[in-house]
Symmetry: C2
Subunit: 330 residues, 2 copies
């Protein structure tokens, strides 16, 4: 099979609002040792793409400067030692470069498209499932029967966290910004979705005795609220700061309740760490996916050249679930 | 052997400065199921005793209202199911009540007096060794080769943490308030003791690439400094707040460096949790103690009725290592 020399991409021309996302042409990349080249059918859109576009989140050394951290498509070339074959259909976590017709990524960061799932859905999986797995289960240590609070319940991260925590037997509480979003969160398995515009999540969690684990992407004034509502031996895991990263805290609560405050970002982690998460997902989550117990919640999709519209929608927070870009006939 | 009905104790008459510590007489307690009665030879003096005396740290439900969290002495009566015999010489973590001629405590919170160690030294072990073990190794996960910073290096906690971390193969850094205290910390195995009155510990740790683990009992303005000097995947464990518990923090550092901020206090933990720590100490630390590789650093001692003088010395911070009270002919 012959590959073209050039491909269509969307690049970040300067930095700023969605309008800096600009269609362009680039050379098709070549897979190095351990890597695969994927012909992208669909690409997922994520918050870090918008931070990178705004100039606030530089790609790690060696990564493509193109945005895009996940995709689904067909393996069309395989580097030495990568354990996939040309023709395999995969979804993949990417170091960057997903807003393009072709992308390279380590083979160990790819997973098979789950049986029964279309490529559009598969493209919406990697970034949120890798993030939720490593933060809620590895880092946060969620156990059956525990009380779990996830903020931003209607986001890609939120809809994934609700489903996985429910499958693991946790009691799930969540916050969202409208009654419509709250209804969707409860449909997905939240025991109680809290409209943060009209209700006090701290008081509601206190009423059930507090939370064992909080997954937060808001920060700001939520940080002291989260710490206050945690039970003894509770954990707070922070994965973004849409409300700002600074807060004053009385750390005596951390000591007296033996809390753990931690967090992570996915992109700068080592290839080995990401490969470990992929293995855990394959063992623990893909079987649930293939019987339809968990799956992506899909918002709107846009053609690749209209990536700016996708970012504008994400930044309006009108969406529920994942926004995707259609790249090739998927 | 017949036991007296009454005993000499030091009680907290009201709350306030060292002068509220007052000699008194109380009934000798009786051991319940799983408990032992110890004739106290020596009792250790600790910071939480002073907080309790000042009215800032109430004893947990069911505990003696007398101060004193550790002692060494002879087992003189054994409750049903406790695995000690009358005549055994033990050192013990206490729920309270150590400033007395007799005290009861769960048998599972006692350890044999290490071979070659006198009762005065043994009385100085439990509170700091239980605290350091659970916070530095269980909670903080210190590994060989890691960079470890412990504040208050010349305190009972500090001198214990320096020795154990050195034995575990960590690179130990510490802070103390005089050149004399710093010299003692380096003699105990610190690679570098930092006089916090004349030197900048943050800058010195940055020069060696940062710390993997910080054990802090200062808090206040140290909290943001600690977070700043931690490496990726670093841990901050907080066990007291001599400088106050409040701080403003940029939590983006926690996320980007994948830090863990945690802490604990020993006294409110369950009997089972304390028994687990005792088992770990018996296996991991008592053998080192019995060959003289680690041991208590002794400051001054005072007769039990002069407990007020012991507290005044501790609160002056003039001491290096542990202050003890002589209760009976030990």
């Amino acid at each position: 099979m012959s590959l073209p020399d050039e491909m269509e991409v969307v690049e970040i021309a300067g930095s700023g609002g969605p309008e800096v996302l600009t269609p362009a042409r680039r050379p098709v990349p070549h897979p190095g040792a351990g890597e695969v080249l994927i012909r992208v059918a669909w690409a997922g859109v994520n918050r870090p793409d918008a931070l990178q576009r705004a100039g606030m989140y530089a790609p790690p050394p060696g990564a493509s400067d193109l945005p895009g951290l996940e995709c689904a498509g067909e393996v069309v070339a395989v580097g030495e030692g990568a354990s996939w074959r040309v023709g395999d259909m995969v979804c993949a976590l990417l170091p960057g470069g997903g807003y393009a017709e072709y992308v390279v990524t380590p083979g160990a960061h790819c997973l098979s498209v789950p049986k029964g799932m279309c490529l559009q859905q598969a493209a919406a999986l990697p970034e949120t499932y890798f993030t939720v797995w490593t933060n809620v289960f590895d880092r946060g240590g969620l156990q059956a029967g525990e009380v779990f609070l996830v903020h931003g319940g209607s986001s890609g991260i939120g809809t994934t966290a609700i489903q996985l925590a429910r499958e693991w037997g946790a009691r799930v509480f969540t916050t969202a910004g409208s009654d419509e979003k709250c209804a969707e969160c409860e449909r997905l398995g939240a025991e109680r979705a809290i409209n943060y515009k009209t209700e006090d999540f701290g008081a509601i969690l206190k009423d059930v005795g507090g939370a064992d684990l909080v997954l937060d992407m808001v920060g700001g004034r939520y940080i002291p609220e989260n710490v206050k509502l945690l039970k003894e031996d509770g954990r707070l895991v922070m994965i973004a700061f849409l409300g700002g990263p600074k807060a004053e805290l009385n750390f005596a609560q951390v000591m007296v309740k033996r809390l753990t405050i931690t967090g992570s970002t996915l992109r700068p982690q080592s290839d080995a760490a990401k490969a470990d998460i992929a293995k855990s997902l394959k063992t623990n989550v893909w079987p649930l996916m293939e019987v339809g117990k968990v799956g992506p919640i899909m918002d709107q999709s846009f053609p690749l050249p209209e990536a700016a519209k996708a970012h504008a929608r994400m930044e309006s927070s009108a969406h529920i679930g994942k926004i995707t870009l259609k790249v090739a006939g998927g």
